[in-house]
Every structure is written in structure tokens, then in C-alpha cells.
């Protein structure tokens, strides 16, 4: 079985994003970029499945700028076997990503596509679901545990108030939640080996799908600055204050 792992290059989770002066988006110039943390979890899970002898090949794929190669190399250094970069400088929305992934999945025929539940830059939380719908395959989103048995995969899903267990017939799509695993570091020998692993570069046009944006960003603004709090003496003072503010 092959596992396809889509990974996205996003602003590093440690970086405090700054909005561009013209409000057109987040300023990414000279900002540290990394693999989307949820995708790192997806890569880790795929490698663990392979290490457990339940998959033969892990293929990482990224849709993004030439620099997304670095993100793919990280996946390769963690243990993916080969990588595909679909190179574009345009912003591709979840639907466009899902269409490209579908085309790649049709070529590669993976038993499992495992990807982050969302990317931390736009927090869309759509790609996995759209891919499942386009491919008409079962989905297990927000995975907390993933277990493969024969041709089915059992996914414990993180839902409000607990865990839900679903059993899917493969090929299937799984999206990862935070607690699924703790991704490994790439070791130095693996970083070196990753440089020699195959990385194919393609264009969106190679897949003949329409990835033109459906949405237009009209404005991006900084969240309002949080006002300093106020300390009150006791409960009575608190109630009085809340009443005065008209919230109680």
C-alpha cells in the first residue's frame, strides 16, 4: 500500500504574523516558514504505519512555491520515500488543492491519504473533506488514533465531548488532530539521505484542473488590541460592575 501525505508550507507557528500595511494579507517577506504542524503529524503517522509493515511507500506532496521543496525535504528527512512538488506562486484554495490531490491520487492509487485537519495559516479545515467528496471515498477527520487492519482503517475522531470511532474501507482519507502523535526529529543521516531521494516537480496545468480562486480577500486586519483588565475588590463590586456595563 502507498500512503499519500500532502504537506503545506506555512508561516512558522512561533512567528507572530504581521498584516501588510495595505490590508491585502499577512506579510510573509523574510518570515520563517515551516511545515504546517498538523501535516508534520500526518507525515509521522504515515511513517509509523510504514514502519509497522502496513505500507510500502510514503509519498509527500506539496502544492506551493518553489521553496516548498524545503518542506518536502523535511518530510523526506523524517522518512517519506519520495516527493512531488506541484509548483505555483498563486494562492490555491482548498478546493483547488483537493482537485490536484485527487488527480495525483488517481495516478498513484494510495490506500490512504493522510493530511492535517487544517493549515495554521488560513485555518480552512476543508481540504481533506473536499478531497473525500471529490473522490467519493470515506473520510475520518480529526484523527486521534489510526489503526489499519486488512483493507480497513479505524479512526478515533476527536469530537466535542469525547472520541468517536469510525471504521473506513480503504482507500480512505484521514485528517490528523493534534494528539495523534508526536512527530520525530529528522536525524542527521536521514537529512543527508533525503537530499538524494526523488523529488518530482509538476505544474497545476499538468493535471488539467481548474484551480482559479473562488474567493476574493477584501481585507485583512490585525485583531483588536486587548484592553488591560481591571481588578475589583469583591463579588459585590464585580456584580455592580457587570450591571453597569449592561452584561448582567
Amino acid at each position: 500500500m502507498k500512503i499519500l501525505v500532502p504537506v503545506k508550507r506555512v508561516i512558522d507557528y512561533n512567528v507572530k504574523p504581521r498584516v501588510k500595511a495595505d490590508g491585502s494579507g499577512v506579510d510573509l517577506a523574510n518570515v520563517k516558514m515551516s511545515m504546517n504542524p498538523f501535516d508534520e503529524i500526518a507525515v509521522e503517522e504515515a511513517i509509523r504505519i510504514k514502519e509497522a509493515g502496513k505500507a510500502e511507500e510514503v509519498i509527500a506532496v506539496s502544492i506551493g512555491p518553489a521553496k516548498a521543496q524545503e518542506t518536502l525535504r523535511t518530510a523526506l528527512a523524517m522518512g517519506a520515500d519520495r516527493a512531488i512538488l506541484v509548483e505555483t506562486d498563486d494562492e490555491v484554495e482548498p478546493l483547488g488543492v483537493a482537485k490536484i490531490l485527487k488527480a495525483i491520487a488517481e495516478e498513484e492509487e494510495p490506500g490512504l491519504v493522510i493530511l492535517g485537519k487544517q493549515a495554521i495559516d488560513d485555518d480552512s479545515n476543508q481540504t481533506g473533506q473536499m478531497l473525500a467528496a471529490l473522490m467519493n471515498r470515506p473520510q475520518g477527520t480529526f484523527a486521534n488514533t489510526v489503526e489499519i487492519e486488512g483493507d480497513s482503517v479505524t479512526v478515533k475522531r476527536e469530537i466535542d465531548g469525547g472520541l468517536e470511532t469510525v471504521k473506513l474501507t480503504m482507500p480512505a482519507i484521514v485528517t490528523t488532530d493534534l494528539r495523534l502523535n508526536e512527530p520525530r526529529y529528522a536525524s542527521l543521516p536521514n537529512i543527508m539521505k533525503a537530499k538524494k531521494k526523488p523529488l518530482d516537480t509538476k505544474n497545476p496545468a499538468d493535471f488539467g484542473v481548474d484551480i482559479a480562486p473562488r474567493l476574493k480577500t477584501t481585507n485583512v486586519s490585525e485583531p483588536p488590541v486587548r484592553q488591560a483588565g481591571e481588578k475589583v475588590e469583591d463579588v459585590d463590586a464585580l456584580v455592580a460592575k457587570l450591571k453597569a456595563l449592561g452584561v448582567a
Binding site: N30, E70, A77, Y185, L188, P189, A194
Partner: protein
């Protein structure tokens, strides 16, 4: 603002990710206890970084010296202390160049896997620091063994190492072929050494460095511990020292980056007189100057590393470059350390900020492994041809 580093992104990233598990709190505790950061060294070893320079056929990654320099730089830039483990990198080139195939086959795979630690380098003695050629520890051949007598000092990490690269005298000074002959290099197995005439005594220093002094009393080692030919040890050490100086230089560049980043962050957020202190040019300029000084040193370090890798850095040209890299980088990190304390005002003295710890750690490198004066005299006398002072 991060200090940008365009090249070797995957290497830098990997080191940073590892170091992120060892935050300031970890180092502060080790420093307080004067304890060896064994967990950190184990993590570096497990991830393969300490085997960076070991060729692939022996289980390492066969990196260039330049890549190894990036690893050391990033460790320091992350606020960690690579001094706990850098010797394995420093001495590796000597072993690779002058060790026999049998020695390499015997030791390198186990060093690469972490089973054997090569972290001790015994050169300095109480009466010979800068003047290495005057060292007195004797190794006398007796059949298939050498018998060692004497004392080493400042042998760092000896209690946390299985092997030691040892420089000892095999011919008395007045009987040696020339001034630079008569010293020999040994790869010594120190395990159970204390039951065989070797005694290690820790020396407490102003920073957490696990340094020691070692006494040898009829300590016997097998003759095949000799590296290369008898009497040629000084020459072997010199070529290895160029690698050591370049790597030390890279660590200093990393330290300087840490100090500059800390100072910039603090200057941008600490408000005095209702504005960030970094808004005052009196505070900005020292930081900017240190940054420029660091970048210049970084160029020299990388230049020296590339020359070393390409083989151009052999002989005198290599000595010049490696020495200048070490000189400029150790001065850049020390200026940055001082600037960082000044920028932090009183808070620079509080343990919690890590500045005072890094300040103490950074102080070492204008003294060891070679002091600034010794580099200046090398440049003056060996590069510029001024009259020899010693």
C-alpha cells in the same frame, strides 16, 4: 526580528528543533548543579550530529567541515552549550587523516553509534599551555606497550568520555630531531583507567565546563594506541587544530547571534521613560555594531571552513585562515556578550535571563583552545614575517 541565515536550511532547522527541547531552564539547572548535560549530548548523538564528520562507511554522515560548523553555530545560537560535546568534532579530522585503517575500523563505528565517546583532548599541562612544545608528560615504549607518566590539566569532559586523544612526549626535548619532533599522539581508552594508574580530578571553573586535571602514574596503554608515527604528534595535532579553530569560530558566531537576538528583543520591549530603550540610539548602536562585527567574523569562519574542505586550506594558508576565523569570532562573541549584559541593565545579571550564563560561557574563547595573543603572534611572525619572539 530573526537573524536570517539563507544557507543550509534543513541542517539549521534540524539542530534548532533538537535544541528546542533543551530550553534555558535546562541549562540553568545544569549550570547551578555544575552537572554534565548528558541528556542533551545523548540527544545530539542519537540524532547523528556528533557523528557528522565520520565518513558514511563508518556509520557517520561524512559532512564537510563547513556543514559541521553550521551544526555547532546553531547549537550556540539556540542558547545551548555545545562545549559539552564539541571535542568529538574537533579531534575527528586528526583521527581521519592520521589514524590507521585498523584504528578507524575499530573505533569509528562505535563512536558514530554513540557507544564510545571521544570527548577528551589532553594537550595542556600545568607548565605548558600556550607553549605546547614544552609539554612533559612522558610516554615510554616498553615492548608492546607505552607507559605514561605525567599530568594534564584542563582536560575537559574526561569524566564523560571513553576515549582521549593524548599528546605526550616520546623523546626528551634535547634528544628530539628538531623542536617540533618528539611528541606523539595516542588514542587512549580511558575506561577503567582509574584502576590502572590514571586519576581524574574535576576543576571547578566559572562556568559549567566539566573540565579536569589528569594524573598518570605508570599508566599503560597498548602500543597500537599510537596514531601515525612516533614523534610526529605535533604535526598531526596542528592540522587538526585548524579544524578545531574553525569549529570554535562557528560556535562563537552562534553565541554572538544569540546575544544579538536577545539584546534586540529586550531593547524592543523594555520600556523606560515611557518608550522602549531600543528607541535610543545609545542602545541601538552597540547592538548594530556587534551585528556587523558578527557578520564579518562569520564570513571569515565560513571562508576558512570552505578552504579547509577544498584542501586549499592546507599548510600555512590554512593556519592563517583558521586562526583569523577564531580570533575574529571569539572577539565578536565577547563584544556581543558584553553588549548584551549592558543592554539588559540589572536584568542581565539575573540567572533567569540566561544572559549571565552565556556571558560566562562565551568568555572562554579568547583564551582557549588558543589565546588571542598566540594567534596574533602567529599572524605577525608566520604571516607577516616579523621577527620571532619565541
Amino acid at each position: 526580528m530573526p537573524i536570517s541565515d539563507g544557507d543550509f536550511p534543513e541542517l539549521r532547522e534540524a539542530v534548532r528543533a533538537l535544541c528546542a527541547d533543551f530550553p534555558g531552564e535546562y541549562w540553568r539547572e545544569k549550570d547551578r548543579e555544575r552537572a554534565y548535560p548528558g541528556e542533551f549530548v545523548a540527544a545530539l548523538t542519537k540524532a547523528g550530529f556528533l557523528a557528522a564528520l565520520i565518513p558514511e562507511e563508518y556509520g557517520g554522515s561524512g559532512l564537510s567541515l563547513e556543514e559541521a560548523a553550521i551544526v555547532m553555530e546553531e547549537i550556540q545560537a539556540a542558547g545551548a552549550n555545545g562545549a559539552a560535546a564539541h571535542a568529538q568534532m574537533y579531534v575527528m579530522n586528526t583521527l581521519l587523516r592520521y589514524g590507521s585503517d585498523a584504528q578507524k575500523a575499530r573505533y569509528l563505528p562505535d563512536i558514530a553509534s554513540g557507544e564510545l565517546r571521544l570527548q577528551a583532548f589532553g594537550v595542556s599541562e600545568p607548565t605548558s599551555g600556550t607553549d605546547t612544545l614544552s609539554l612533559r608528560t612522558r610516554a615510554v615504549r616498553k615492548g608492546d606497550r607505552y607507559v605514561i607518566n605525567g599530568q594534564k590539566i584542563w582536560t575537559s569532559r574526561a569524566e564523560h568520555s571513553d576515549l582521549m586523544m593524548l599528546l605526550a612526549r616520546t623523546a626528551p626535548r634535547d634528544e628530539a630531531k628538531s623542536k617540533t619532533h618528539g611528541l606523539s599522539l595516542f588514542l587512549v581508552d580511558m575506561r577503567d583507567g582509574n584502576s590502572r594508574g590514571m586519576a581524574i580530578e574535576p576543576i571547578r571553573t566559572m562556568m559549567n565546563h566539566s573540565t579536569t586535571e589528569i594524573f598518570f602514574d605508570d599508566f599503560e596503554i597498548p602500543a597500537d594506541a599510537l596514531i601515525g608515527e612516533e614523534g610526529e604528534g605535533f604535526r598531526y595535532i596542528l592540522s587538526g587544530m585548524n579544524a578545531e579553530r574553525i569549529l570554535i569560530g562557528a560556535e562563537c558566531v552562534g553565541d554572538a547571534k544569540w546575544f544579538i537576538r536577545k539584546a534586540s528583543e529586550y531593547a524592543g520591549s523594555r520600556e523606560v521613560f515611557d518608550r522602549p530603550i531600543g528607541q535610543n540610539q545609545g542602545v541601538q548602536f552597540p547592538i548594530a555594531r556587534c551585528y556587523a562585527q558578527m557578520r564579518a567574523a562569520e564570513l571569515m569562519v565560513r571562508h576558512a571552513a570552505r578552504a579547509y574542505d577544498s584542501g586549499e586550506g592546507a599548510g600555512k594558508a590554512g593556519g592563517e585562515q583558521a586562526n583569523m576565523a577564531k580570533l575574529l569570532a571569539s572577539e565578536a562573541s565577547w563584544s556581543a556578550a558584553d553588549m548584551c549584559v549592558q543592554t539588559h541593565g540589572g536584568f542581565g545579571f539575573a540567572e533567569e535571563y540566561d544572559v549571565e550564563r552565556k556571558f560566562r560561557e562565551a568568555r572562554l574563547y579568547t583564551v582557549a583552545p588558543i589565546s588571542t595573543n598566540a594567534i596574533l603572534s602567529y599572524i605577525a611572525e608566520h604571516v607577516l614575517g616579523l621577527p620571532r619572539s619565541y
